[in-house]
Amino acid sequence: MTFEEMPEVWQEWLELTPLERFRQSEKLFAQYLAMGGNLDPDPDPTSPFYDPDQWRPGAAYGRAGLRVLRRGAS
């Protein structure tokens, strides 16, 4: 992908200086947390560090009480 092919939002992001990106990232992160986001890593079975037992209750995925009640046709 070249710069010209990138979506406008990414082009704007790349126009920032590294430090501006870091500060903007802090703001985005604060909003994410304010909206209830958590800091648990997304479950990634392709990661060598993936341990299903490590997901804590309250995480978006893998909650102890979270069960699949119905699956759509595949």
């Binding site: 070249t2 790349l14 870091f22 958590n38 800091l39 648990d40 890593p41 990634d44 990661s47 060598p48």
Partner: protein, 236 residues
């Protein structure tokens, strides 16, 4: 060295954790322990913090509990697969100074690209972006080192086609290391895409092979800690 570095370089907008690569010296471990205590950080997974395990390629994972950084995850490593020793990484690092005088020491983009060559599918689009960003920012004033890096690491047929057109001699010199550059010369875009996918799969296989013995060790550590906690022990 990970997601936060990608934010600085522009290849990501947020990262949920902080990954640190550390010079393996007792003085640094001592400073790290002090910092982790200030952050009220607790280890959350195997292995335990042990310089010998870090030297074998393991990472140690912590979660913070101090006010203001609740739940923040910090991962520590001292060596990375297929990357040179810390001294070389440090020599090539990027330093960014903040407006409050703080310093951020980042893996250089070429080192970060190599560090991201993992079995995780999510890392590969990041590599594509890092190389494209580096080319955009340095393409107007290319030095031989950068040209070699772009030709070795570019991950889209379009960028590769542009590079071989612009730097034909350097590209020919690299075809023995990266045979798919021949396809970029001949403009076989679909074949190039297939070859790029094959490159990813080969690198992912290398990463899996690297981690296989370490994962076997994880399992042994997990079993040992479960057995220990069954006897009333606790994680550090």
């Amino acid at each position: 060295m990970g997601g936060q570095a990608c934010v600085f370089y522009g290849a990501a907008q947020v990262s949920k954790d902080v990954d640190l690569v550390l010079l393996a010296q007792e003085e640094n471990f001592s400073r790290l322990r002090t910092a982790l205590e200030q952050l009220n950080a607790k280890r959350i997974a195997v292995p335990r913090f042990d310089p010998a395990l870090l030297a074998r390629g393991h990472a140690v994972h912590f979660r913070c509990a101090a006010p203001g950084v609740e739940d923040l995850r910090i991962d520590i490593m001292t060596c990375l697969r297929d990357l040179p020793p810390f001294s070389a990484l440090w020599e090539r690092r990027t330093v960014i100074t903040g407006d409050r005088g703080e310093e951020f020491h980042l893996l250089s983009i070429p080192d970060l690209v190599n560090a991201k060559k993992t079995q995780r599918t999510k890392d590969w689009p990041i590599i594509e972006l890092l190389v494209a960003i580096h080319y955009r920012e340095n393409g107007a004033n290319p030095c031989p080192e950068w040209v070699e890096f772009w030709l070795a690491q570019a991950r889209t047929p379009e960028l590769l086609a542009e590079l071989v057109q612009r730097f034909p001699n350097e590209a020919r010199a690299q075809t023995s290391h990266r045979p798919l550059l021949r396809l970029a010369f001949s403009g076989e875009i679909e074949a190039l895409r297939t070859a790029l996918d094959a490159e990813v799969r080969a690198e992912q296989a290398k990463d899996r092979a690297y981690w296989a013995p370490l994962i076997a060790e994880f399992e042994a550590f997990r079993r040992a800690e479960r057995a220990e906690s069954g006897k009333g022990g606790a994680m550090e």
